[in-house]
Each structure stands twice: as structure tokens, then as C-alpha cells.
């Protein structure tokens, strides 16, 4: 068992499972509709700013699989699985696409507001601007098309969600989500990121959040 072998297996796993989750999301949503329990499924689209200077967007979905209600206080939380796909333009000369999958906990504050803490793992692919040249073993220069690097990412987010209209039930929420994430291995270490995202989420099965 070597570190490189572990990373290879992890990479293969992360390539497979998140892809299955992405295609399974609509299935989950449909299945949720048939369940008697009110567990909202959310799809969201967010515009993001990755400090300093990267702009992009993310689309994703969160599917709850377990609800917990505190009988004494009435507080409710949902445990969710999520996946998302996104793209960033970086001013330091590359574009990146990424795919994450993970889990989170939604804390239902009221019918109009809930917060969510989430953790995810994923893949991050950079594509460099302009032409990329490589020095060959014979000293010649050749061009590499669509060249970039693959990285792993680990992300921790906290999102604040507010129903847009006061009438109930209404499926639209405003979503504000700061996050911290690591890109690795970057020059044999980690590259830290802090991002702020904002956008809308849609409650797919139309149920009230509470």
C-alpha cells in the first residue's frame, strides 16, 4: 500500500461516484415526490468570486435522506447528499472546471430560512490560457493542446438560505454561501482558496421547508 496507490484509487472512486450521483439526482427527486415525508430537494445555481479575482458559477443539487426532529424544541434538521458542477475564470491565466460531491446538514430555522453546513470532495481541472509549449527530450519545442492539470479538492461551506417571496409554499430561495477549499497536490502542497457565492435555489418537489 503506497500513497500514490491510495491517491490513484481515490481518484478513480471520485471520478465514478460523483458522476453517478449527478445522473441519479433527478431519480432521487422523483422518488422523493412519492414519499409521504416532507423532505425538500433543492437545485441551485450560484455565481461565485474566488478570492482574489476568480469569477465563476456553480450548479448543483442537494437531496435529503434523513430528517431529525428535536421533540422538546421542535427544531428540525435534514441530512443531505449533494453534488455540484462549476467553472471558474482565473485572472492568473487559466480556466478551471470542477465537480464535487459530499454531504451536509440543513438546519431549519423557520419556513422561510434555513442554514446548511456541508463538506465535499471532488476533482478540479485547470486549462491554461494561450498556447502551452513543452520541451521535448530531444530539446525541441512542441505545442500541447488544452493542457492543464488535475487536482483534488476538499471544500467546507456554510450557506444561508432565505425564501424569496413570503407566500407559502414558494419554491424559490436566495442562497448565500461562503466556502473554504483546498486544491492539491499543488506544487507538492495545498493551495488555499476562499470563495463567496450567491444565487438562487429551487425546491424541486415544491414542499415547504419546515
Amino acid at each position: 500500500m503506497t500513497l500514490s496507490n491510495d491517491l490513484r484509487i481515490f481518484t478513480l472512486t471520485m471520478k465514478t461516484i460523483p458522476l453517478l450521483l449527478l445522473f441519479a439526482l433527478p431519480v432521487f427527486a422523483i422518488a422523493q415526490d412519492s414519499l409521504p415525508i416532507s423532505r425538500p430537494v433543492f437545485l441551485y445555481g450560484l455565481a461565485g468570486y474566488d478570492i482574489p479575482g476568480g469569477f465563476g458559477f456553480t450548479i448543483g443539487g442537494a437531496v435529503p435522506f434523513h430528517s431529525i426532529v428535536n421533540i422538546k424544541t421542535g427544531a428540525k434538521k435534514n441530512e443531505v447528499i449533494s453534488s455540484e458542477l462549476g467553472e471558474y475564470r482565473d485572472p492568473f491565466a487559466f480556466t478551471s472546471v470542477f465537480f464535487n460531491a459530499g454531504f451536509g446538514i440543513e438546519y431549519i430555522r423557520s419556513s422561510k430560512h434555513f442554514t446548511e453546513l456541508s463538506f465535499s470532495q471532488g476533482l478540479f481541472r485547470t486549462i491554461y490560457d494561450g498556447k502551452v509549449y513543452e520541451l521535448g527530450p530531444d530539446g525541441s519545442i512542441k505545442e500541447r493542446k488544452l493542457f492543464g492539470r488535475n487536482y483534488l479538492v476538499t471544500q467546507v461551506c456554510m450557506s444561508l438560505n432565505y425564501r424569496i417571496y413570503k407566500r407559502n409554499p414558494d419554491p424559490w430561495f436566495l442562497k448565500f454561501r461562503p466556502s473554504a477549499w483546498l486544491q492539491y497536490p499543488y506544487n507538492s502542497f495545498f493551495k488555499f482558496h476562499f470563495a463567496i457565492q450567491a444565487g438562487v435555489s429551487y425546491c424541486l418537489n415544491g414542499h415547504s421547508v419546515s
Partner: protein
């Protein structure tokens, strides 16, 4: 079904943005090109700005090691970019240079090879252009190592060496001597007495050639000594143009990992003084008179050993280790006059 189609549509939209890449638009008086050079695990950006139509490219070989090149994209090269093209190259594990697991490949011979690759790319891309190396501090060591090797200097029209450290041991010993001599003089004048006394006590008690830790401490004193001589320094941790996250990672690698420290220690024995006779291309040596980090004695050593057909050493009397910051106009004038001499 609608949900799946919507997901696919948005995914395709993502791919559209991936296509926003800058392509080479030919020569221009106001170019803003970007290329990447990937070599043995390091992906190094080279941003070319300025007048590419001049057929003259000044390649920045930045110092550090570990500093980026993008901090030069300001007033320090403004006039140069009006007249010529300036190529800002981030060396491996510096600036915005990227890669996966590559720290084990961080060594001087590899970096010299990287410089060779960048020069080849610039030659390919700007066919017929004259390339000048603008090398500062550690970049001077890198440039010297490149120019003395094989027939590399045939690719270069001229060498602009700004406080270049082509001989690290000479830097250490002359730095210590300059700190001691200047310290005594300044104490006699009553300037920053306690600060200079601390420096004197340390330098008198330690030999920088005995360990990397002592050499590093003397270098720290050398940087602060400039302030005591009234040289205004740019003390910002990061240039606003740099990617601070990438810089943090690269600095961490250099100063907090064994591989990074091994690389820095290996530089202590780097010395090209006895090979500079191989360099015959025109050379311009620009030095700050109050550079305690790479003292003027190192510049004099380079001047004495170079076999260049044309060589010139200029001392800037109001500058320390960064004359391009403190006497920008004078430095740019010298560079322009140097380049124009050979056009």
C-alpha cells in the same frame, strides 16, 4: 426528463466558457500575450507585454528564489514596455507557476534548463527577435548558469544583470564585511546606534560560510540595513498583481519543507565567478551602492571576470538591492541606452 435536459444544457454552457482562451494575435505595439511553458513537472506562465513589434524581448529572470515576475509589471518596467516587449516569466515553484508533485525537481540545473526552454519558446514565437536577459539577484545566478553552459549565450543578445548573485559565497563574505564596515561608520556618526550594534555583534561573532542558518540571518540584517541608510523599501508582502494563495504555497515550500530548505542550502555553494570568462555577449551590470545583500564587490567580480565585448558596471548612489524600484528612471535609461547601442 426536463431536469436532465436542463443539467446537460448548463454543462454545455460550462464548456463554452472553457473556450475563452487568448490566442496569439501577431506583433503589436501594445501586446498582452500569455503562454505557458511546461517542463519536467512545472507549468510556468510567461506573460509578454509591451511592444512586440520592436522585435526586442526583455526576459525577466526574477529573484528570490520564489518571488514572482508579476511584481515587475508596474512602474519598474513601464518605459521599457513602451519601447520593447517584456516577458514576465514565473520560475518553477514561484509566482503563479503550477504543477502537481514537483518539489523534488526544484534544483539549480533544472531551473537553468527551464530558462533554456523559455528562451526557445520566445525564439519560436517571436521569430527574429533579439532577446535580452533582465536578471535580478537570484535571477543573476540563474542567468549566469545558463549563459556559461554550452552555446546558450548564442540565443541571447545581451545580459542585464541587476544586483545579480552569481557567486553566493562571495555574497556572504562581502555582505558581512560591508555590514561591519558600514556599521562602525554609522555608529561613529551616531545613526541607529543600537540597531547597528546588534548587527555588528552578530557579524563579528559569526561566519556566514559556516552554516546556512547564519548566512540567512546575515541576509536578514542586510535587508534591514538599507533602511538605516535611508533607502526607501517596498515592504508590501505581496504585490497586488500576484496570486497571494500561490505565493503562500510557494514560500511555504521553500522555507518550511526539507526539499525547499535543501534547495536553498545547495545554492550556498553556487559559484560562477571562474566561468564568467565564457560569456562574451554584451553585459550591463547595474548595482545599488547600498546593496548589503549582494554588495557592489560582487558586481565588480562579475565585471572583472566577464569576457564580454561590451561590459559596463553602473553604481546607483541612492539605491540598495532594488535600484529598479528606487531609481527607476535612471535604471531604465541605462537599459534603453544599452539595448539601443546594439540596434
Amino acid at each position: 426528463m426536463k431536469c436532465i435536459c436542463a443539467n446537460i444544457f448548463v454543462f454545455l454552457l460550462c464548456l463554452f466558457f472553457i473556450g475563452c482562451k487568448k490566442e496569439f494575435a501577431g506583433l503589436s505595439a501594445n501586446a498582452n500575450d500569455i503562454v505557458w511553458v511546461t517542463n519536467n513537472g512545472a507549468d510556468m506562465p510567461v506573460r509578454i507585454k509591451g511592444n512586440t513589434a520592436s522585435h526586442i524581448v526583455i526576459l525577466i529572470v526574477h529573484g528570490g528564489p520564489g518571488d514572482g515576475s508579476y511584481s515587475y509589471v508596474d512602474y519598474k518596467t513601464a518605459r521599457l514596455r513602451e519601447r520593447y516587449a517584456v516577458a514576465f516569466w514565473d520560475q518553477r515553484n514561484a509566482g503563479s507557476a503550477a504543477g502537481n508533485n514537483n518539489l523534488d525537481k526544484l534544483n539549480l540545473p533544472q531551473m537553468i534548463d527551464d530558462l533554456g526552454a523559455v528562451v526557445k519558446v520566445l525564439k519560436l514565437r517571436y521569430e527574429g527577435a533579439d532577446i535580452y536577459l533582465y536578471a535580478h539577484s537570484f535571477g543573476g545566478l540563474l542567468a549566469a548558469g545558463y549563459l556559461v553552459k554550452d552555446s546558450n549565450q548564442d540565443q541571447i543578445r545581451g545580459w542585464i544583470d541587476i544586483d545579480g548573485a552569481h557567486n553566493y559565497a562571495l555574497c556572504d563574505t562581502s555582505s558581512r564585511k560591508m555590514l561591519i564596515d558600514t556599521g562602525r561608520s554609522e555608529i561613529n556618526k551616531g545613526n541607529y546606534i543600537s540597531q547597528w550594534q546588534s548587527i555588528l555583534n552578530y557579524c563579528n561573532a559569526h561566519d556566514p560560510l559556516s552554516s546556512y542558518a547564519i548566512s540567512s540571518q546575515i541576509e536578514n540584517y542586510a535587508h534591514t540595513a538599507e533602511e538605516y541608510m535611508g533607502i526607501k523599501q517596498n515592504n508590501s508582502i505581496f504585490s497586488i498583481a500576484e496570486d497571494p494563495s500561490a505565493l503562500l504555497t510557494n514560500y511555504y515550500n521553500l522555507y518550511n519543507t526539507s526539499a525547499g530548505n535543501n534547495f536553498l542550502e545547495s545554492l550556498e555553494s553556487a559559484n560562477y565567478s571562474d566561468q564568467l570568462y565564457k560569456i562574451k555577449i554584451p553585459s550591463l551590470l547595474l548595482w545599488g551602492q547600498y546593496d548589503f545583500v549582494v554588495p557592489p564587490k560582487v558586481g565588480q567580480d562579475a565585471f572583472a571576470n566577464l569576457a564580454s565585448s561590451y561590459k559596463k558596471l553602473i553604481l546607483f548612489s541612492h539605491s540598495g538591492h532594488h535600484p529598479m524600484e528606487t531609481e527607476t528612471d535612471a535604471v531604465e535609461d541605462e537599459i534603453i541606452n544599452f539595448i539601443e547601442t546594439f540596434q
